[in-house]
């Protein structure tokens, strides 16, 4: 099977044709030959397939809100060709058997490469290390370990985890949240929490853990990845750590690049998320931190929840927002259109570097001949009001409803297979593997 993409702007730059042959990009340039499939991409931007370092696909155990298949479809719709599935499933992904099951179900679904994240501690209990070596050596070859949803709060355990994971060349992705400073916290601590009478989640609870962890990483010579950075102060700490030569990488979510705590003023649980939405000053500083390289990647923290978990009071609602389909649009709006970064930077923060951090093969030479055929075509001139009908997962808890956002994914190609054609996600039976 060959696919010829005609006239795409390569990462926002020169216009070129791309010839896909099987699962490989065969040729890039002016191509006169024909192909089995021809995609007219004039006016579209070609990006390497997007890689998400942080998704919750909920399977096993949470199939009411998402499955590996439904989450994979949402990912493809958002232009992704690889996603990391967080470990906080039920049961927790803390054994070789479980991560292999997740990877295999992802492979069978066929929309994206599903890379399981292994738990750092058994059952996310924060007490005893999970089977890290077993997961690393399993067929799923896990390289990213995280107790996401919970912080590895104990300093000694975090030290050991950093050391032990580095034995296998992996990385700890830390959910940085001091547990004591955030007991019962449900919203950013500040003007809005004071007005609403809700228990605040202070910025220092994130910043102090990041500060501790970068020093631990330096001390033991390990790699650290910081999940969903949400405050200006966290960006400062990471900037300082990088300057010092500490091997730390960091991610920010699309929602923390766009939305502020003010969204919570009507107690609408769609805006309840952990870490919480912060202030406009934080949003601005996080954008700058992406632009200057302090924050390495954008990761979605896609967190589907069934409607009953959001059609309720703020207190009773679950934390989290879906984000796979909207990620690129928010990045375009908050970073590209706002003048902070270029489209080639988008390829870097949403594909090349997340793949590098997660050791996902095939993304190191984006849109070059010989690379894996993972390609996303975007219509950046399209603008529309976001609504839940755009979602392909099982849950509709998107915070972007009624917000006008630019960009539309027109085509996604995963290892040479089209998963999105003309803006429509391909039917499961057409991509399913056996």
């Amino acid at each position: 099977m060959t696919i010829l993409i005609r006239g795409a702007s390569l990462m926002g730059g020169d216009t070129s044709d791309i010839l896909v042959d099987g699962d490989i990009i065969r040729e890039v340039g002016r191509i006169s030959s024909s192909a089995d499939r021809v995609i007219d991409a004039h006016g579209l931007i070609a990006l390497p397939g997007l890689v998400d370092l942080h998704s919750h696909l909920r399977e096993p155990g949470g199939e009411g809100s998402e499955t590996i298949l439904s989450g994979s479809r949402a990912a493809a719709a958002g232009g992704f060709t690889a996603v990391h599935a967080m470990a906080n499933t039920s049961p927790v992904a803390d054994t070789a058997e479980l991560v292999e099951l997740v990877a295999e179900r992802g492979r069978l679904a066929g929309y994206v490469e599903v890379r399981p994240v292994g738990a750092v501690t058994k059952n996310l209990g924060g007490e005893q290390l999970a089977d890290i070596g077993g997961m690393a050596r399993s067929a799923a070859a896990v390289t990213v370990f995280s107790d996401d949803g919970r912080c590895v709060g104990d300093a000694l355990l975090m030290r050991r985890a950093l050391e032990y994971v580095s034995t296998f060349g992996g990385v700890i992705a830390q959910h940085s949240q001091d547990p004591r400073l955030t007991e019962d916290a449900v919203i950013n601590e500040g003007r809005v929490s004071s007005e609403l009478g809700l228990r605040g989640w202070p910025s220092v609870a994130e910043e102090s853990i990041i500060a501790r962890d970068v020093l631990l990483a330096e001390y033991v010579g390990a790699r650290l990845h910081v999940c969903h950075v949400s405050t200006a102060g966290s960006a400062d700490v990471i900037r300082w750590a990088k300057k010092r030569g500490i091997r730390v990488t960091a991610e920010v979510t699309p929602h923390h690049l766009l939305l502020t705590e003010d969204r919570a003023l009507a107690y609408d649980p769609l805006f309840k998320v952990n870490p919480p939405l912060r202030t406009a000053a934080d949003v601005e500083e996080l954008r700058r931190a992406v632009a200057d390289g302090t924050i390495d990647v954008v990761a979605t923290d896609h967190a589907p929840h069934a409607s009953a978990s959001k059609d309720c009071t703020w207190h009773d609602a679950s934390f989290g927002m879906v984000g796979l389909e909207s990620a690129l649009s928010v990045v375009q709006h908050a970073l590209v259109d706002a003048g902070h970064i270029s489209w080639s930077d988008v390829a870097r923060i949403l594909s090349v570097v997340p793949a590098e951090i997660g050791k996902v093969g095939g993304y190191d030479a984006p849109l070059e001949a010989g690379s894996k055929a993972n390609i996303t075509l975007v219509d950046s001139s399209h603008t529309s009001v976001w609504d839940a009908s755009r979602l392909h997962g099982r849950s509709t808890n998107s915070p972007f409803a009624e917000i006008s956002l630019p960009g539309r994914i027109m085509s996604t190609i995963f290892n040479g297979t089209e998963t999105v054609i003309d803006g429509t996600v391909v039917a499961p039976e057409l991509v399913r593997k056996t």
């Binding site: 004071s194 609403l196 009478g197 009507a266 059609d311 309720c312 703020w314 207190h315 009773d316």
Partner: protein, 313 residues
């Protein structure tokens, strides 16, 4: 006005109209026949997910004085523990005929969520939500201040020029939040006195003056000192070290009362910890309005029910 969820959403003109209606309700309460027929055939459901005997009885008395039928639903803790959501509980009560839902809940924002989401058509009256707001308490406090300080000139007037000091656990107090908002809308100036641990963060937009101890507040010669109930379990959570230190720095006592202008009043929303945030002798002094506040509470809640009923016609 369909619902009363917060004093934040209450315009000053509306508030004054409610206070004036409450004057009429006090008159009704002093008549031989102490009832109005306004809510005959209507049902007021008191839905209390958090214990509060005095607020519940006050709303009950108000509803009965307006000839309403009253049903009471109390579920200390929460009915969620029985597997039923708040939404289902309220829709069940409405299906049983509730026209007004008086809602008390230990979680902030519950009344706003119910009023915003269209789960029910009934009027929603917030009888206290977590550490957010308690609008009828603020209204009855404003009513008490106005009648004490303005006397016969109360009707139609606001609290312009009145200085109010609110002292103690501001952080956890829905009474303090609702009062700070409402009293300023009515023209009063508000000073808060509390340890840093019991002050909300980032309140520079509240329009209030913040001082440290109760003595600093008394130095401003306030017309009103409002003391707040302090939960003793706050000590074990590290908000303050001991009862004696709290009462030494933030407790209202005789010595402090004597430093106030003789026309000033001392308020407390109840229930009081005598000897902690307010001494027994101050609570029993002529300058204390504690029992008046309770009596005025019934009149204010009558005025709220009466007004919401009138506006829905």
């Amino acid at each position: 006005m369909k619902n009363l969820v917060s004093t934040r959403d209450l315009e000053a003109g509306r508030a004054i109209a409610l206070l004036d209606t409450a004057i009429d309700m006090v008159d009704v309460r002093s008549r031989d026949v102490k009832k109005l027929p306004t809510l005959r055939g209507k049902t007021v459901a008191n839905v209390f997910f958090e214990d509060s005997t005095r607020t519940r009885l006050s709303f009950e008395a108000a509803a009965l004085a307006l000839s309403a039928d009253v049903t009471t639903f109390t579920a200390p803790g929460s009915s969620v523990s029985k597997g039923e959501s708040l939404k289902d509980t309220l829709q069940t009560l409405e299906a049983m005929g509730a026209d007004f839902i008086v809602l008390r809940h230990s979680h902030s924002g519950v009344a706003a969520t119910v009023a915003n989401n269209g789960w029910v058509d009934a009027h929603i009256i917030n009888a206290g939500d977590g550490t957010h707001e308690h609008p009828t308490q603020a209204l009855l406090d404003a009513f008490t201040m106005r009648s004490r300080l303005l006397g016969d000139a109360a009707r139609g007037n606001n609290l312009s020029g009145i200085k109010v000091a609110i002292v103690g656990d501001i952080l956890h107090s829905r009474v303090a939040r609702s009062n700070a908002l409402l009293l300023q809308k009515l023209g009063a100036s508000v000073t808060l006195a509390a340890p840093q641990t019991l002050l909300p963060r980032a309140i520079d937009n509240w329009g209030v003056t913040v001082v440290t101890t109760i003595d600093d507040a008394i130095d401003t010669a306030p017309d009103v000192v409002m003391t707040l109930r302090v939960q003793k379990e706050r000590m074990s959570s590290g908000f303050f070290p001991s009862e004696s230190e709290f009462s030494a720095l933030w407790g209202m006592n005789d010595a402090r009362l004597s430093r106030l202008p003789p026309t000033s009043i001392v308020m407390h929303p109840g229930p009081m910890n005598r000897g902690l945030e307010i001494s027994g002798s101050v609570a029993d002094s002529p300058q204390s309005t504690v029992t008046e506040q309770v009596a005025n509470g019934v009149a204010i809640r009558m005025a709220v029910l009466y007004t919401l009923m009138g506006d829905s016609r």
